[in-house]
Amino acid sequence: MALVEIENLTVTFGGAPAVRNVNLAVGEGEAIGVIGESGCGKSVTWLAALGLLPGHVAIDGQVRLAGEDIRGAPPKVLDRIRGRRIAMIFQDPASALNPTKKVGRQVTEVLKLHRGMGGDAAWAEAKRLFDQVGIPDPAERLKAYPHQLSGGQNQRVMIAMALAGQPDVLVADEPTTALDVTIQAQILDLLKVIRRDTGMALVLISHDLGVVAEVCSRAYVMYAGTVVEEGTVASLFSAPSHPYTRGLLAALPSLGGPVQRLRSIPGSVPHPNEVGSGCPFAPRCDEGISFCQRASPPLRQLSVEFRHAVACLRRHSIAIGDMVEVAA
């Protein structure tokens, strides 16, 4: 049984579905990536799973933690899961930390909540955590306010805060996007080291394929609120099957070879209101057939071994013969 299973999750903002029928699973100690451009629903999926979206947002489906459905659970239950079983860190660490509280206090708050630590014991543990996430001079830094630390240090504080609850899963929502490139590499290394040391599972939400490839073993590619392809990172990168995944990979600059213009996918992600009944990627797809406009393709397994699945009629048609071609 997977540690976290998201099943048929649909999230609707005022009639517009931002996430549609998403299925995701995270195994114990596993590192998965969720890839997609901004607005594709990758963050919303996890915010919804943890009940962190405003009350007027409609959420449907199941979110199971160790087999127990926590979707829409009462606040009391969620408060014991958030930060304790599933921790989350966010994109811009400077704004994700309370500007009027010392960072040490923000860490000890978690220690008190989830581990019942107080006073000197909590402070000592916070110091140890700061040390663990590589903050120099932790005793002094604990007393600093977020504005006195750099972006990279603030993200380390966020990670320390997440580790404070000794969670089973860390959901990292674009943890390096707001940081300088050199700092990005340091934070990724830190996440890898922490995973190795603690054995906690990691969900890395990112638009950056390189980041996911470096840290994760498996990944989901999301587009316009749906999962369009999933599989092991090796299989996804060596045999991308969805035209969108292929477009993303083609858009990466190559280190070797002649210098050329970066490839891009023409068009942009449709607004949730504009997604029709067909494949959401159809308007931007250069391989589309007329049938793509009519029915949204389900995810279908390509390889059991690599847990590779794709939601594309063209791939299905190759896999299951020319049935769809004929139908079209």
Binding site: L47, L50, L52, P75, K76, L78, D79, R80, I81, R82, G83, R84, A87, M88, F90, D92, S95, A96, L97, N98, P99, T100, K101, E109, V110, L113, H114, Y145, H147, Q148, M158, M161, G165
Partner: protein
Amino acid sequence: MLIFALSRLLRAFITIALVVSFAFVALRLSGDPALEILSSDATPDAIAAFRSAWGLDDSIGVQFLRYAQAVFAGELGHSMRDGRDVLTVVAERIPVTLAITLPALMINIVIGIPAGVVAALNRNTPLDRILMAGAVAGFTVPSYVLGFGLVLIFSVWLGWLPSGGSQSWINAVLPVFTLGVGGAAILARYTRSAVLEVLTQSYVRTASAKGVPWRHVVERHVLPNAAIPTVTIIGLMVGHLVAGAVIVESIFSWPGIGRLLVGSVVSRDLAVVQGILLLVALTMVIANMAVDLLYGMLDPRTLSRRHK
């Protein structure tokens, strides 16, 4: 920090000096005290004697220098009406005014802030709408309308409360309420928007993601941050109360600074008016400094920003 404190003191001094000078000049240009204070059948000789006794014959420049010198020596002059020391005349009214402005400030805070917080936390619910409709009514109705309305209802029709006077605390009820309502309404609206603003901040979501129960998210993360802009408004409230006191004291014949000011202006009792304006300017400057100080305590970013 020392330079900051000194520069604030200098600014405070300049503010007060400007208010006092402006009042001084404006008052001298607005009419002759001799004609107001002496009875209408005073002889020209009596008028001339009055003028020379109070130094009104000299040019404005000379009068101002003389006044400034006296102020620096702690001497605010004497009332032209009864010859008493201005400091004494004003000082004996201060507690009377404080007796209604302080409770009014308490009403501002005790009603305004919780109303704003509750409205923000229940945004777009009927409760929010009722509170905000009340707030709009509270600050759009001017205090002289509200004051007379309350007198009409509670004194004239119901006969529950006195319409004026200052014999006991019961006389203070209507003035305090009249003075407090507008400020409470303004504070409620500012508090609501401050809380709403903070609720959208990423760190509030972080707190929830950590597993902090919602009540504690509000108490420990939302309110301390929303307090920062709210404190500024409370500082402005002081000015609002001083201005309000002039009107409210007149409506309810409450013998405080406000009524003394109105009476002194009418009778061109220049020294008293100047003394009161100096006091008001001082109050405002002190209120502003208190706000700055509180700001520094509430927002750790303030000091380092100033150092940059």
